[in-house]
């Protein structure tokens, strides 16, 4: 019954999207005025119904209703509850429903709370959002119905890919999806503003919280995904330039460029056409990413279903939306004036360079991701990996960081650079100090990590410069946010560079009782014991790591074996053990047993790494997200609204 109800709700929600689209379009073509009053409630209802349908899908997974095909294929009654819930979006159909839920809910939020835009622009925005929803509803209902029943219910389900059975799955996809789909609102705002020609500061200010919000989630999603890969894959890599990672990075880069250009449009009414263009690009890149991952062009843990029909469907949808938005842009671009002019040495000038570099990095990541696919279609098999990206994107990213140093210290419109020069020396000194220290004492370091750490030194000091000589209490929240986010970039950059420059690795086959040295640690291998998990068996190793200071810590890496359920193949995973210290992380993995002379295993493969400052990478990611969150709170004027409300309430209370 639950499944049927869910499906019915989806159809009703799709009909409501259809209603919003038609009513909005008629209104915009100078139809009757009262049609506009339909669009808001229809958008809200559509969002709520889709969310309820998604909740029903989760309920099916919680109840392990194996008569539903999706549950039978992706769940198992023995699975821990958290993974039953998370399993609802750990598959193609469920994740598409999650996508639609977020799309619908963001439309509902715009309909409920957006008060700054002109009425017709808002209706055009909601209409665009409804058009997006409608396409994805069609995709879900016609080619990936999550509520499909099986004619005969199997006794139990096939379980979930063990790699996905991790607490990371509970958070990583929803976070990333909120980010991806949040950009759809910016896309709809851009389309709406193009339709009604209202492109200016009001439009930019309305769009800005959405860009910031989705970018926060993209940042968190990428950071969490990176940490997940780090400890789950068992080799300690935190970024692989894997196509699937790249397609999450591309919308992030577009979002970063957009939130800087939207600042220019909101504050100075300049770069208008470019901001609209970027808003279109942002969500387009989200769709391209979803298409690449879901169409089966790539095989990875993320491509749940390899199905050419779905791929074609997504491709058509994408062509329709991106093509439509770009056509609209081309028609209207002539009427969109570029806006206020500015000098090269100015805040706007530095943000233009920022946007140029960010879009170049975006383009090269996209190029590197698509190139092997296209080359293969043309009969040439090549791989594009870390060496390419490090060599091409690395220098650009470092230049971008240096521009980031200058931008906040320049005035809007025109600047003589005096403030910049007066505040630059401490930052340059910090960078030079790091560089000299590394050259003198660092040993042999690659050029990119060396420059990375020096630039991190410059950025760390310079990012704080906008706060100097300022009353900290009266500094606006968005300024704090900017400072924090830029400082976070320095922290992450230092972590990445230090990890790749100073990593220490030990691979050994050790017998119980043996001691292995890695970096400053003496690690004693105490032995292994079998343990049983809820749906796996495992071998748990016990390691005692002792620091030179005499402190000792116990690490328990596991090698897990998941049995094949209902005819699927058994899978092995490694659970790394991590010891976090102020200076970095000790990373231990228990590998294969090594049989001794009598045939029984007496030694085990151990993989040990000392990763200096590695956790700074994710700390930096967190700081960037936190900075953006502060800016969001400041920009959305939540505090101001709250204060006004409180004042009004207080007045009412004391009113006679």
């Amino acid at each position: 019954m639950i499944a049927e109800l869910g499906l019915a709700l989806l159809w009703i929600a799709a009909a409501l999207a259809c209603l919003s689209l038609i009513a909005g379009a008629l209104f915009l073509r100078a139809g009757p005025k009262d049609l506009a009053s339909l669009v808001r409630p229809a958008s809200v209802a559509q969002g709520v119904l889709t969310a309820v349908a998604f909740a029903l899908l989760i309920a099916l997974f919680v109840r392990s209703d194996m008569s539903v095909e999706l549950v039978a294929r992706n769940s198992n009654s023995l699975k821990p509850m958290i993974f039953k819930v998370a399993g609802a979006w750990g598959n193609h159909e469920g994740s598409m429903l999650l996508w639609l839920t977020i799309l619908g809910l963001s439309g509902a939020l715009v309909a409920l709370f957006e008060k700054r835009l002109r009425e017709d622009t808002l209706i055009a925005t909601l209409t665009a959002q409804a058009a997006l929803s409608l396409g994805f509803f069609a995709f879900l209902l016609f080619s990936s119905n999550p509520f499909n029943r099986l004619p005969v219910a199997p006794p139990d389900g096939q379980g979930l890919n063990p790699l996905l059975q991790d607490i990371g799955l509970a958070f990583h996809p929803p976070t990333l999806y909120v980010g991806y789909v949040g950009l759809s609102v910016a896309f709809s705002f851009a389309v709406g503003a193009l339709v009604t020609r209202e492109i200016g500061p009001a439009f930019a200010r309305a769009m800005r919280p959405w860009v910031l919000g989705s970018w926060i989630f993209l940042t968190l999603g990428i950071t969490a995904g990176s940490y997940w890969a780090y400890y789950e894959l068992g080799w300690g890599g935190w970024w692989f330039w894997d196509p699937v990672e790249n397609v999450s990075l591309i919308p992030w880069l577009a979002g970063a460029a957009l939130l800087h250009s939207v600042a220019v449009t909101a504050t100075r009414n300049a770069l208008r056409a470019w901001t609209v263009m970027l808003a279109v690009i942002g969500f387009s890149m989200s769709m391209v990413g979803t298409f690449i991952v879901r169409s089966g062009l790539l095989t990875s843990v993320h491509s749940f279903a390899v199905d050419p029909e779905r791929g074609t469907f997504l491709l058509v949808l994408m062509a329709l939306y991106i093509g439509g938005a770009l056509t609209l842009f081309a028609i209207r671009a002539g009427t969109v004036a570029e806006g206020k002019k500015f000098a090269l040495v100015s805040r706007e000038g530095s943000l233009v360079i920022n946007n140029l570099l960010l879009t170049t990095i975006l383009a090269l990541v996209l190029l590197g991701t698509l190139y092997p696919i296209v080359a293969e279609a043309m009969g040439e098999k090549i791989s594009v990996g870390p060496p390419y990206y490090n060599r091409v994107a690395g220098p650009l990213a470092l230049i971008l960081c240096l521009v980031m140093v200058a931008g906040p210290l320049l005035a809007w419109r025109k600047d003589d650079g005096r403030k910049l020069w007066s505040r630059l020396p401490p930052a340059i000194f910090a960078g030079a100090a790091v560089l000299f220290a590394l050259v003198l004492f660092g040993g042999k370091i690659g050029i990119l990590p060396l420059l990375g750490m020096s630039v991190a030194g410059v950025v760390a000091v310079a990012s704080l410069a906008p706060l100097w000589n300022r009353n900290l209490r009266r500094t606006p929240l968005p300024t704090w946010g900017m400072v924090l986010a830029h400082f976070g970039v320095a922290v992450a950059l230092a972590g990445m560079a230090a990890e790749s420059a100073f990593i220490k690795e030990r691979l050994v086959a050790a017998a119980p009782g043996e001691t292995v040295r890695v970096a400053d640690f003496a690690v004693r291998f105490d032995g292994v014991r079998p343990v049983a998990g809820p749906n796996y068996t495992a071998l748990e190793g016990s390691l005692t790591a002792t620091t030179p200071g005499g402190a000792s810590f116990v690490l328990k890496p596991e090698s897990r074996m998941f049995p094949g359920l209902m005819g699927t193949a058994p899978t092995e995973t490694n659970e790394a053990a991590l010891l976090t210290r102020p200076g970095g992380q000790l990373y231990a993995v228990l590998g294969q047993p090594v049989p001794g002379t009598n045939g029984t295993p007496d030694r085990y493969q151990l993989r040990l790494w000392w990763k200096p400052l590695v956790w700074w990478i994710w700390l930096g990611g967190g700081l960037i997200a936190l900075g953006a969150a502060l800016a969001l709170i400041g920009r959305a004027q939540l505090l101001a609204i709250w204060r006004v409300r409180r004042a009004r309430k207080a007045e009412e209370r004391f009113a006679p």
């Binding site: 500015f342 060496p387 045939g599």
Partner: protein, 144 residues
């Protein structure tokens, strides 16, 4: 007694190859580092740029697949024998094609890949700064 001993020996002999296969991995360097830290660093750098052919977008430096282990062994033993990293990469490319190397060569097929970003930056910069210069002229024009 003698027969028994002979039988045992025979069994041992028969079991030995199988046991040896189990006990001594055919690729000892798959999970074992080179003694010389400089060579190991070279090996590590090279392995990180070689694709594990049976994995999902992983390098041979971070995969548990048996083929990745074999390839790590090849790389480390060739380096230990004194071959240069570039020669080893060439050897692997000759054997498996460019697919194996994450570092695409610069040739006709990849010219766009390497030069594309540069062209993008140049054209973008030209457009942006062309606009800025136009802006300046206009401002001066407006002042007079």
């Amino acid at each position: 007694m003698r027969l028994r001993l002979a039988l045992a020996l025979l069994l041992c002999a028969a079991a030995a190859p199988a046991a040896a296969q189990d006990r001594l991995p055919s690729a000892p360097y798959a999970y074992q580092q080179l003694q010389d830290p400089a060579k190991e660093a070279q090996a590590k750098a090279l392995m990180e740029t070689l694709r594990c052919l049976v994995c999902q977008g992983q390098s041979i430096a971070d995969s548990d697949a048996p083929l990745a282990g074999d390839m790590r062994h090849e790389v480390r033993s060739k380096l230990a024998a004194g071959e240069s990293p570039d020669a080893i990469r060439e050897w692997l490319v000759a054997r498996y094609g460019n697919w194996v190397s994450y570092d695409p060569p610069f040739d006709g097929a990849t010219a766009l890949l390497w030069l594309g970003p540069l062209a993008f930056l140049a054209i973008g910069g030209w457009l942006a700064f062309g606009r800025l210069r136009g802006a300046k002229d206009e401002e001066e024009g407006g002042a007079t």
